[in-house]
Symmetry: D2
Subunit: 284 residues, 4 copies
């Protein structure tokens, strides 16, 4: 449905990751190879943490295609960040409007999603009712993705990201089943707080959308000693992407089915992901 990219590591110009690589995200907006749709032209967004305003990420989103958007190029070529997201959208019925573009933000947190809640029209009201009433008034758009974010916030995202996402996924599963939807959830999700980022790959049917993480930079450097870019970035630099960028052999590894990873200072971690169906109520 969509494509996304998440970067964490040595501060770089956004354009070094978003525009310059072969098969870059901007290129994917016109010619995705692995997406359900080859064209992702229904809006885009970027979110980045700036060093001295890190209390909240900057979010720039627009409703046109990424490939012809000049402001996106300008910002990407002049803004440097050590942790940023980018997302291109292929709408599946919901309105093409800024509030339906990713990333979504709440305070320090940002969120983006590829996939869908199957039967969303059937489930939307019940899921919305499960959102913390104090958060409900902040819902601006009409997507499943935004609602998934609000549910994760409701279920404790800032305290326990994997747990909150698991509870959100569990609620979607149970609500879907209550409405007779066989495979309610299909998702790859990225979430960040400015220090760390988490990536999730999950689907009810066990056939999730593609997701890749980049190989450790020191390993890549050994494999490709002549590649200049690798010399300029720290060992800790990591990308998570819907589709591989560039053409460096050995650079990309598939995120395993139904698992999640944490990109953080120190060692990154990868582990299994399972919806938590024991929390929250299902109305239906």
């Amino acid at each position: 449905m969509c494509r996304w990219i998440a970067y964490s590591g040595t501060p770089v110009l956004l354009s070094q990751v978003l525009l310059e690589p072969a098969h870059s995200l901007i290129d994917q907006s016109l010619h995705s190879r692995m997406g359900v749709e080859t064209t992702n032209g229904d809006g885009f967004g970027i979110g980045w943490y700036a060093q001295d305003t890190a209390d909240t990420p900057a979010i720039v989103r627009d409703v046109g295609p990424a490939w012809n958007n000049r402001n996106l190029r300008e910002v990407a070529q002049h803004v440097r960040s050590d942790l940023f997201f980018a997302h291109i959208r292929a709408a599946t019925g919901t309105a093409v409007q800024q509030s339906n573009c990713h990333p979504f933000r709440s305070g320090r947190w940002m969120w983006m999603h590829n996939g869908m809640i199957n039967g969303f029209r059937l489930l939307r009201r019940d899921l919305a009712l499960a959102v913390d009433p104090a958060l409900y008034p902040d819902i601006e758009g009409s997507t499943d993705s935004e609602l998934m974010f609000f549910l994760a916030l409701t279920f404790g995202l800032p305290e326990d990201p994997p747990g909150a996402v698991a509870r959100m996924a569990g609620l979607v599963e149970r609500t879907g089943h209550a409405h007779g939807v066989r495979h309610p959830l299909q998702m790859t999700v990225a979430v960040a707080d400015g220090e760390r980022m988490w990536a999730f790959r999950y689907s009810s049917e066990g056939r999730s959308r593609s997701l890749y993480f980049s190989t450790r930079v020191d390993t890549l450097r050994a494999l490709h000693p002549a590649t200049e870019f690798l010399r300029d970035i720290s060992d800790e630099t990591r990308l998570v992407v819907s589709e591989p960028l560039g053409d460096l052999p050995g650079a990309w590894n598939e995120v395993p089915e139904n698992s999640y990873g944490v990109i953080q200072p120190g060692n990154d971690v990868i582990g299994p992901f399972r919806p938590d169906v024991h929390v929250g109520s299902v109305r239906g």
Copy 2:
């Protein structure tokens, strides 16, 4: 907050009403005299019934100002209709997006609003929960105005427009009071089904936004025998507007406080409007 105009009568080019009069609606988008805001530049919309596709009105909306929108001029100068709405928006916090622009539509029905639900952030969830679950998934935007429309649909708009609007207003009053809001509702609303249109003027505090209806055409014709435009339109032609257009003495009459009118084939009717607080439930 906003300005609107509703026309019913002899088929005319939309531009004859929207663009050509002195102090036209387009002019009001830059220089409103009677609105809370002088500038209404946060989007606009028009809705019209076409003779041979009258099963549903056409709705054209955009997020920029009306005064510089070329497509609006093009459509207005080339489309003829016997019943149409136009609306210019001054946003008060909610997103500037197409789905927050008026008119809203459901089947044959269209709806537009000027005013606000006070304390809307407090009341939004409770009001949304009162929407018919079968309609809830169609909510696309984040305004009080769209929600008022969905509540009126929930409460029987197609069968009994004044009753449905009264029940909607009653629910807003009760929900507001339950949350400690003193004067929950401020509204002028227009609604149409392609044959008839209804206009409502109401506010909790009894100081409603301005609303005017045009004098009977035969009376005006007697007053202004030299005015050519009046010779070309039927006696039944009627406008309802937030602010008077043009400068024809005797042309405009204030809609009384807390009342509503019906513009229809045969005699138009005007009557008192009171919220109906006996129906619907209030959660809070």
Copy 3:
């Protein structure tokens, strides 16, 4: 680079031609089969003549993709016309802005184009200087297509459309050659005045972009007696398109290389097209 469609005949809702057929123009905006680009998402436009405002066509253009534009659908589903154009754009370097979208208009005339002037940056100034100084101030955009229209107007479009287009093409050829461009022009062009429309297929190298015209309706009706749509439209109804719509065998015929056609009341005409290089001056 782009795709277009021109309709002349029995008044129909625009949507019957633009939205409903298999492989419609809107579908081509996402999935063109015969275009140089499969995606035409850099803006669109429609232009139509309305029966009682036929002094000038209505032009509605926007910078986003056609496939997700709601206003386009609304207008197409509620406006009827007997002569209309539609165009979807794939930009090749020039800005994505309304003034670069087709159709272009001057008085009763409208114009749209698929193709390009090769080496346009080299030739642009010389071509602009050849525009009638009285028309020059009306140039709003930066495309070759708009400039071709202004040159055709300069060279007598209203009096002699094929001659004016031939003189425009001749000037482009000569100016291109003066700047060392081997194959200066590649074009399919449609132009109309509200009564008739002309279509041109030409390229310097003799390998022009695809262009098709529809078979006579009476012939098609004999071939497909069960096809209801064919019973409702007049024998004179004709479409010219970049790519065939629908899947009716026998419905489409290729416009021959380097030729043009006239769709008009009475018999349509097709003839050879050759640039006229004897008129106008070339600066360089």
Copy 4:
């Protein structure tokens, strides 16, 4: 017609200058006090130099009003710069499109303008012909402002900014007079190269649009020892604005009629400005 602001000095978040002051530029987009138009809602732009990409400024422009644009707020609240421009537009006939929004850019240089060339439609072609043919293909929009920039570039802007602007103004004066325009030019212009910035105030009739520069920071600090913001910025910090911001007594000084200033490392300079009519040719 428009309003603008230019900042040079201690690196600040753009929002500290654009959003936070009383009567900020964003506020002026809705409620200008000194402009010809009170509403400047026909597009906006910002341009800034980033420390490590200072070869070229970033330019972000959009066609909607500044007051409701979220991307503008996001960028302003997360980007820091020591030299930046911002501009809000009130169109006077030309198209509302990104390429007509200020600032304009060429390499390291950026340019913005308030005012107009009187009789621009009469003069446009002659002025365009005077643009260096190598630069002509880069013209993207249809404004007098962009053309003034291209003329200044043609006349040596990078080598001698005041001289180039004087020659541009001289050409406009002579071309205007050749076409019978009495007072051809009305302008306040800002131009920068990343190190220095220049501001010009001039009109043919000697009644130029308003322009102000800020008082030396050390003087202001002595006047207002309690004002915290003044303690955080260097003595060299300077603003030039169409209308005063904030409400600090003594902070603003009118740029004298027909003069220009240079904001640069070391002492700033102010001097008389006179069009240079001895250079360039006038066709007409």
